[in-house]
């Protein structure tokens, strides 16, 4: 990384807080300690009906410390980076550790797993957009949405947000790592009205590099198009039908898989995929892998939140689970090795076929295209799934009309094994990247 002086200075500053905290932890008698520090600076501007509505200046920072004393764990955090406050936070964490119980599985990640040498993933693109410029872009976006269709009658506004952050992590193995990152986004939500009923929908674009954001007018037009497409929605009658999950909804579906094979769900036995390593869960043509080092990727990270090196690997091959998703604690509980997933997955990619979205509709022929899901109706212990849905009725391979106020229900295990096809319409805005997913059959409840 051709660190500018400024970046270097900031990284050194955060790393020096870590060194101070580690020193204090030793002084207070901790056997081991880990510290993470973050600093975020940002601007968000929302315009509504052509006028600026809110202008927010963000600056957040925090230092979190965890200490281990004879495998008893205590944590504390502070937003005050003064020496005194950091020492106090360390002391508080140490005090807590004198009351928690000894846990043979607790502790830092293993020395050899740490990212002693980590790559620069080019995650930092400071935009430096001014409030005036941001307002202008947001207005362009919203105007395109409002003009997108005469049935668009109201706006919830268009927003730009631009954040720059610095992350640092260090532990008493002697590891210290830090990196800068940025994230920028533009979103727009509008309201359409027809026959006295209103619908709202939105579109957004997000990227590490502001130059890769979708054009403002296009974002606005898409928001308008998506909103009017929902007008005059009908209910469906109760029946069993094929379901096509749009890429955004499909990403959520794969997200449930991630939770089910995550270490904490497994060792707590609160997953419907217990003992599933080596088991066939998906159809044999399905592959899922993690790619943490995609350059400028929204989900990319050089190391996880325990300092463990992240690496590309298969999670599902030929429908069979190759690897769980683990941090070091869960790994020790399960007698496995950490997979560098403390804090979550980094760019989970579902391999797609060569069918585009229209081909997927054609393949389904008749059924429900789901573009929105509501509610928390998922039981991770059993896999039982029942959620509110909205989307479109598809017949003869074509979208016929919008539908709403229905639910879809099934069991995640069945849904996974009954996946018929995956489209190549990947949504790259999401950290779990997949195309649309066609599931053979689910129960739809409506009238």
């Amino acid at each position: 990384m051709s660190d500018s002086k400024q970046i270097k200075k900031k990284r050194n500053e955060l790393e020096s807080h870590i060194e101070l905290a580690l020193k204090a932890a030793r002084k207070y008698g901790a056997d081991a300690a880990e510290i993470s520090v973050a600093e975020d600076k940002g601007l968000s501007v929302t315009v509504r009906n052509g006028e600026i509505e809110t202008l927010e200046n963000h600056f957040d920072k925090g230092l979190a410390i965890t200490v281990f004393n004879k495998q008893c764990k205590g944590s504390s955090s502070t937003s005050d980076f003064s020496e005194k406050a950091i020492r106090q936070a360390v002391k508080t964490a140490t005090d807590i550790a004198s009351f928690t119980a000894q846990d043979e599985f607790s502790g830092l990640a293993e020395y050899d797993e740490l990212a002693w040498d980590y790559p620069d993933l080019n995650l930092y693109y400071p935009w430096g957009v001014s409030a005036e410029e941001a307002t202008e872009i947001a207005i362009q976006c919203e105007t395109a949405a409002l003009k997108g269709d005469k049935r668009i009658v109201n706006s919830e506004g268009a927003s730009i947000s631009s954040f720059e952050s610095f992350r640092a992590y260090g532990n008493s193995h002697g590891f210290i790592g830090s990196y800068p990152a940025s994230s920028h986004s533009l979103s727009c939500a509008v309201i359409g009205k027809e026959n006295d009923a209103m619908q709202r929908d939105y579109w957004y674009t997000a990227a590490r590099d502001n130059n890769l954001l979708e054009d403002a007018k296009r974002v606005g037009k898409k928001a308008a198009k998506r909103t009017v497409a929902r007008l005059n929605a009908k209910k469906l009658s109760t029946s069993k039908l094929p379901i096509l999950f749009s890429p955004e909804m499909a990403s959520g579906l794969i997200g449930h898989f991630v939770v089910a094979v995550s270490g904490s769900s497994l060792y707590r036995k609160s997953s419907f995929l217990l003992d599933s390593l080596g088991e066939k869960i998906f159809p044999d043509w399905m592959h899922i892998y993690e790619q943490p080092h995609i350059v400028s990727g929204l989900g990319s990270a050089p190391f996880d939140s325990e300092g463990v090196k992240t690496r590309s690997r298969n999670i599902v091959s030929h429908g069979v689970i190759d690897s769980y998703i683990l941090n070091s604690y869960a790994a020790r509980k399960l007698k496995l090795t950490t997979t560098g997933n403390a804090g979550g997955v980094h760019n989970l990619c579902v391999e797609t076929g060569n069918l585009n979205f229209n081909a997927m509709l054609k393949l389904m022929d008749k059924g429900l295209l789901v573009t929105e899901l509501m509610g928390q109706g998922i039981n991770m212990v059993t896999g039982d799934y029942s959620r509110g849905a909205a989307g479109f009725w598809v017949e003869n391979g074509k979208i016929q009309y919008p539908v709403e106020e229905i639910t879809i229900a099934g069991n995640l295990k069945d849904m996974f094994s009954n996946i018929v096809a995956i489209g190549n319409d990947i949504d790259t805005r999401l950290t779990t990247r997949t195309g649309s997913i066609l599931v053979e059959e689910m129960m739809i409840a409506g009238e």
Binding site: T54, I191, T382, A445
Partner: protein, 478 residues
Amino acid sequence: MAKTKSTILSSTDVSEIELAKTLARVMSQGGVDAADLYFQKSHSEFWSLEDSIVKHGDFNIEQGVGVRAISGEKTGFAYSDEISIKALKSAANAARAISRQGQKHSVNALPKMHESFHLYDAVDPIDTFSAEEKVKLLESVDIEARRIDSRVTQVMVSLAGERSAILVAAADGTLASDVRPLVRLSVSVIVEANGRREQGGAGGGARVGYGYFLEEERALEYAREAVRQAVLKLDAVDAPAGAMTVVLGAGWPGVLLHEAVGHGLEGDFNRKGSSAFSGRVGERIATSECTVVDDGTLANRRGSLNVDDEGTPTQCTTLIENGILKGYLQDKLNGRLMGEASTGNGRRESYAHLPMPRMTNTYMLPGKYEHDEIIASVDRGLYAVNFAGGQVDITSGKFVFSASEAYLIENGKITSPVRGATLIGNGPDVLTKVSMVGNNLKLDEGVGTCGKEGQSVPVGVGQPSLKIDELTVGGTSV
């Protein structure tokens, strides 16, 4: 001077004169017509038990000041985690940049602060128990859950406590403070029998000290309740699918009101005309059985506040009276733009977030029917007692809430427990289908958290038993 002021400002260089000076600085920008400063000093702790041992404790400090400048419908906002004259000055300059020009408005003199901490004691829950007592409390819950049923294989218990002191100073002459304690205990268990596993959860909380959990064996009751729910599900049959009569139990099922009507009646959505309820004050939106209020003044309740986050005293606001929509929940900004007064519902997650209209404790007043009478009136339907939460689309009015404990009703009798199912309906319609309201009003146990535009705040819900003639149930069995 009052205790809150001393807590928040004492160790800083910010004096009371500085509050007036900062407000004057913000208001000196032409076109700025309202401004406020929000100081917060909070600390919180979290203890968790798993595998029968207390594995983790965490302590956090959060403090800072947010400065807001309003010009018509425009809001400028900046904040700092440092409470100092320098930080106030720089936040004031950033916030007031929202306005370029216009008439200058004056600042009302700040009154002497008078405090009325009457809804809950200004205790620091964290100090009410020693660390040993907290550990013991968590362990007692684990022991109880495992004691009462041998099918329990995992117990997770968490204890959270916080104290948040706030101070609001506004250019309209508001000077108010509050000290808000909040505790919560949650239990989650896993049971296993005949190769089937199920989960159950329970918990409670209030604006009190930790002693609350020992009174009336509350903590142990949560353990028993979590086990009861999990075990019940072991024998559950598939939930039915389709439109049918639904009876909702008293208490936590009041989530229905929160999602179906509460959010849609928040002032911001109605000022913008984006709610399915916009422009409908005075219209019938429910059967005459239904009267719904939002009440921030209930003693010790999780959703209650002495003053909201704009310094306005909370109140009991009637949203629906005998089926007629009476009004909206307002903060200062939306109230002013709609020509109404704030209803004391301006809330924010922290100093780093902007306030907006939010619910406090939302519930339906009791009706005239016995609970048993309501069940007996249903030939075939669903009796839903516990919910995992809900969600609403304000604009289309569609809402869902997910039943975690429900039973079939057959021929006027409660029969088999069913697996979890989502219920979906249309907010503006659902209360027009309420044909019976029970006389058994109950409020929830104090665990509700409401999310809106990325901000979380503690809330309460409640209701008596209700019969809804038709609602879509998202099960799997026809």
